[in-house]
Structure formats: structure tokens, C-alpha cells
Symmetry: C3
């Protein structure tokens, strides 16, 4: 298994960050033309990984849906940091902190409109780690 | 890694389609009695894969829940195709487009009531691809 | 692939049960200092696996969010067992019954605040099976 950690700046607002560039660079080096599975993992308790289209508004739509499904208000038992932060700790229950996708011939075999994205609603941690691992098949 | 793509007709209504027949056929050929992991992946930006019971109403219940959690109305920034289509692009954020399940002795080791299902709320794409991959352990 | 099944008592109330002890024991024996992927799978149609922080209220927060997103009332087509049980069958559509996380040097490489948890809203099945599998890389 080849594995590495990349640092992603998500900033101080809820963000969906496209990991395409980091993933492509890693897979072209780690897979070297082989087939296998790519594992994307965020080792944080207040972020998730999603496969969605970016650049056409769906990233904003996902954040708006999460604002409604997990409101950033005072309802949460887990209460510290910015107001409503407890909802960030529930996020990984719905948007899991990992994704597994196929690698074929050394390239991630996503659909045309799919992008691997870090989903980070936590405004208190502007820099995140993402672990990329390639398991040859 | 053994891998193949199957075509699934999901039709022009939101649908939960049981992939059991396609999965069993693939795994019996690809795994040949071995242990490993089965990876099910839909390379589309408006569909997901879920493991639920089928045939007792939970497929309809899942679609009804998604209608409520991600309403097919005009709220979405991503706006093209059928009315409310933007919600189909948020779906993979909640119902991820992949599943990984164990294979034991050449058979998918699901629980009695579990089925691998394609979840497709997108009414504009009646035919979908699903990639099945077996990684021997 | 090394694989085993552990039994987890979740009791007769909705529960988020930390699997850390079982996972650590399995991985230390199965991985023996190697890298790879850990697959956690619950072979039941009314439970999921999540990676969240435990011990600070987020387990209760996740259950409260699920109560709101999937209410235990009479709306569900799938109707048997305790009142509202149909929602337990939709749960795995949102909280999938599997998780894959990296193993490095024979240890699960979770973040500081992450725990692998069984999420079980089904009050009719107090004992659950969880399959742990290690795929060396």
C-alpha cells in the first residue's frame, strides 16, 4: 500500500474543496499504471469526504442542505468553539470521512462529472489533513 | 483486481434497484472461491449505492425520506434538466456512490436482509453504469 | 484477508457503541505490524457504522439528528416490530453499514478524536454482529 498525507486549506467558512489535483498527482505516482483501489481519508472528527460535481453550484447546494439537516444552533450536547459547532461533529455520521474509488491503468476511474471533495463545515480549523492510500489489486 | 461494468435500467422515475443478480454473477466468476472485498461504484454524479432490505417497502421509504431531506424544488443553485434536478446532485453527498462489502469463500457475505442497491433519483437518465470490482485478500 | 466476527451488545434503546476495543484487539493480531485497510461491516439491515467522536455528547447528538431526519412514527411503508421501526430500515441508506480506514504499522490510523462506532436505532435486536476484516496492502 502506498500512502501519503496532504494538507488542504479549507479556510474559516464551511467549504467543499475539490481534491482532484492532489489525488491525480498521488495516483499517477503511486499506481504507476496499475489497477487497484484509492482510499481517501480525513483523520478529523468534523469533516467528511464526498464524491459530487463541482463548479456548477452543487458544492454550495450540499452545504445549504447540511445547514438545514444539521443546523448550526444551540441544540447540540457537544458544545465548544464557535456557536453551533456541535453539528460539525455529527457531520461525519452523514458524510463519512472516507471514500474508496477504483483506479484503472494508473488513473482514478471517476465518472465525467464526479470530483473527490473534502467537506468541512468546521470554521475553527482552517487547515486539514487528508490521507491518500493506493491498494494495488 | 477483477473489474467489470454492468448497465442498469433505472427508468424515468426515482428508483432503488436491487443489484443482487448482477453482483452474484460477477462475484462467482471473479472471486472463484476466494476471500476479499467487493467494491460497487456508480460513476455518475446523481446516484448512490446503498445496502438496505428490498421487497418490504424500505426502498420506497428511502425514496420518500430523500424527497423530504432533499426536496425536488427550486431551491438549488445547480439548475438544469427536470425541475428540482439540483437535489439529485446533492444525493451522492448523503448516499455515497460506492459500497465495499466482504466476500468470503467466493460469495458476498451480506446479512440475511441486506441487498446492494443502486439509488437513482435522477429521472433524466434512465440507464446507468455500475462498476463491480473484486480485490482478493 | 484476515476476518472475524465480534458480538456487540447494543441493548434495547437506540445506541452508538464505540468499537475501539474490539477493533484494536483484532488489528493488533491480524495486521502484525503491516500496512493495509481495515473494513468494518455490520451484516444487519437496521444498523450502520460511523466514525465520530465519542464521550463528549456527539453520540447523543447523532441519535437526536437521526430521530429528526428519520422520525420513529407511522409514516413508513415497512411496518413491523416496535412502532416506527420502518425508519431503522432507512438508516443504512444514510449511515452505511460499513467503514474502511487505513492501518499503518499494525495500528488503525484514526485521527485523535475519531472512534469507529456501531449505530443501532433498532430497539428490537439487542445483540449485533460486526465483521472486522484486514486487507494487507
Amino acid at each position: 500500500m502506498h500512502t501519503t498525507v496532504v494538507e488542504i486549506v479549507t479556510g474559516r467558512r464551511p467549504a467543499v474543496v475539490d481534491l482532484g489535483r492532489e489525488v491525480d498527482a498521488f495516483v499517477s505516482e503511486a499506481a504507476r499504471g496499475l489497477d487497484g483501489l484509492l482510499h481517501v481519508f480525513v483523520p478529523h472528527a468534523t469533516a467528511g469526504v464526498a464524491v459530487i460535481e463541482t463548479g456548477a453550484g452543487s458544492d454550495a447546494d450540499l452545504l445549504a442542505a447540511l445547514d438545514r439537516l444539521l443546523p448550526a444552533d444551540q441544540r447540540w450536547v457537544h458544545r465548544h468553539g464557535s456557536p453551533g459547532h456541535g453539528r460539525d461533529h455529527v457531520l461525519p455520521g452523514l458524510v463519512a470521512p472516507f471514500v474508496v474509488v477504483p483506479v484503472l491503468g494508473g488513473r482514478v476511474a471517476l465518472g465525467t462529472w464526479q470530483s473527490l471533495c473534502l467537506v468541512d463545515t468546521n470554521v475553527d480549523n482552517p487547515v486539514r489533513q487528508v490521507r491518500l492510500s493506493f491498494l494495488p489489486g
